[in-house]
Amino acid sequence: MQASRQQPRSLKHQLWVAFLVVPPIVFMSLFVVYPILSAFAYAFYDWQGLARGEFVGLKNFREVLFGATMAPVVWNAFLHNVYALIALMIIQNGGGFFLAWLLYKEPFGFRFHRIAVFVPVVLSTIIVGFLWKLFLNPNFGIINQALYSVGLDSWAKPWLGDSSTALGALILANAWHFVGFPALVYLAGMQRIPPEIIEAARLDGTNEWQLLKNVVWPLVAPSTTILFTLLFIGAFNWFEIPYVMVGLDGSPFGSTDVLGLVFYRTAFGNQSASIQNFGMGSALATLLFLFIVVFASMLTLWLRRREIQF
């Protein structure tokens, strides 16, 4: 640090610094730290509606993980979160990587394409969800209408009403919404690679695929670290798209149920069961939170090790 920044620590000066840092810290403590710490505590209590009952130890956790009514729902939903994570890793982040590479070469019209790919990203998930719900409507949605108009009538399906296609449809709607984000983050990562490195690889006669696999991919590792970690956190917090497109119960027959929906139903109730269970909801939130923190840190550390300094 420069010596010039050393100031006399007068009381007036200390008060001024306190005036700057205390309000933000108090605000964060009240609305972030306190709720998060309470979330852990709440999970150990029995709840009657909004009133906290007695201390019940690990009962809520046992109920969520192994209970006869709750556990099958939770594990079913967890599996769907895992499917969504894997599919989005490939479609959204993988697709974003390839789009970034095409944009990186700055072909004719790349400025337009760069703006176009990011248009869905700025839209609300609610708008995206409703839009695709209308498009996927079995009778009047443009997807089936398009299939009818080219004579592929047998391909038309009630996409969101069929348990074999519903989750896939949600995943694709999500990928449409967000593929622009990894694309432009990877693009920024590629633009930071010194051009001499790519030039040298070209002169060595590497083909496009080898260049991408052996040079570009390892050098954009920092972008990969952050994108995969963000997607991991996002996939296990997935809520809006399923809520809007298939409803709170993960219909049909729980084939699109995810942990976000289970959590909301448990904590705040739904039309069919208006019971609120804050204890079990908090237990589920705590488990999900620990799962995300532990695995996201492991993922980050593992991905960090692949990063190369240049």
Binding site: V17, P23, P24, I115, V119, L123, F135, A267
Partner: protein, 284 residues
């Protein structure tokens, strides 16, 4: 088959990579934009026209759907609520974030590391999962079902990243500026307000966009905190609206178009700033 595969390398060389890239990029941009275009076109149609000619161009003089959405539904109220909530949250985020960021960046103190770690933790923790205690806290504070419940929540979520953006930028400003003002006898608040902050407008713009878009689009917290229709924000109000007009597709598309219009137009006008702001957290 053999003939084709043996020809393939030669063909691959013959078709320039640029052409293939063009085709893929055009196809992708089409997939990204066409759904939005269909949404806007359908908003000018009656429900019957949408069902019969989903891909046809509409008569653009038919604006009755838009008139109905703006005149007969609560959409304008949702819109005003979204502006109030997003605007107030951004002001609070910038004020509190700049205060903490400035202190950490410009004054040496043993507590700086602690303060940064404190905000770093806030950056990592998904507040969504603490929504139950937050719900009870807001009820106890009497803020539940008010716009303030959303404003304080969004401010808390946006604050950590803003502290880092502001501290990161303010640290790069040369201390000669401060020292010169100090020699002239300017007080510390005066130096901050008149010398340093006027230079910090670019990072403030980045922080504002980075936070404004997710706040404007958020649905989860209003869903939990807000019951009264007159206080709903646009995404939450949209679910009410979509539930009321389920069979009137012309209205549905007009509602979606009106809800999407402000941010889409703003994005098209300021695409560089939007992209920079929204990827700021992921691009170092």
């Amino acid at each position: 088959m053999t003939a084709i595969t043996s020809d393939a390398p030669a063909t691959r060389q013959a078709i320039p990579f640029v052409l293939l890239a063009q085709v893929i990029l055009i196809a992708n941009s089409f997939i990204m934009l066409y759904p939005v275009v269909v949404m806007v076109l359908s908003a000018f149609k009656t429900t019957g026209e949408i069902f019969e000619h989903p891909f046809a161009l509409p008569d653009f003089t038919q604006v009755q759907n838009f008139a109905k959405v703006l005149g007969e539904t609560a959409m304008p109220v949702y819109f005003v609520n979204s502006i109030l909530v997003t605007g107030t949250s951004i002001v609070l985020i910038l004020v509190l974030g700049t205060m903490a960021g400035y202190a950490v960046a410009r004054y040496e103190s043993r507590t700086n590391t602690f303060i940064l770690l404190f905000f770093l933790a806030g950056l990592m923790l998904p507040l969504k999962l603490a929504v139950i205690p937050l719900f009870i806290l807001l009820r106890d504070l009497g803020l539940l079902d008010s716009r303030w419940s959303l404003i304080v929540t969004y401010t808390a979520i946006g604050l950590p990243s803003t502290v880092f953006i502001m501290a990161g930028f303010l640290r790069t400003l040369p201390s000669e500026l401060e020292d010169a003002a100090r020699i002239d006898g300017a007080s510390e608040p005066r130096i901050m307000w008149s010398v340093m902050l006027p230079l910090a407008r670019p990072p403030m713009a980045i922080a504002a966009i980075q936070n404004a878009v997710p706040i404007w689009n958020d649905f989860f917290f209003p869903l939990v905190f807000i019951q009264t229709d007159a206080r709903k924000t646009l995404p939450q109000g949209l679910t009410t609206f979509m539930g009321e007009y389920t069979t009137d597709w012309g209205m549905l598309f007009a509602g979606l178009t009106i809800a999407a219009a402000p941010i889409t137009l703003l994005y098209i006008a300021l695409s560089r700033q939007f992209i920079q702001g929204m990827t700021a957290g992921a691009v170092k």
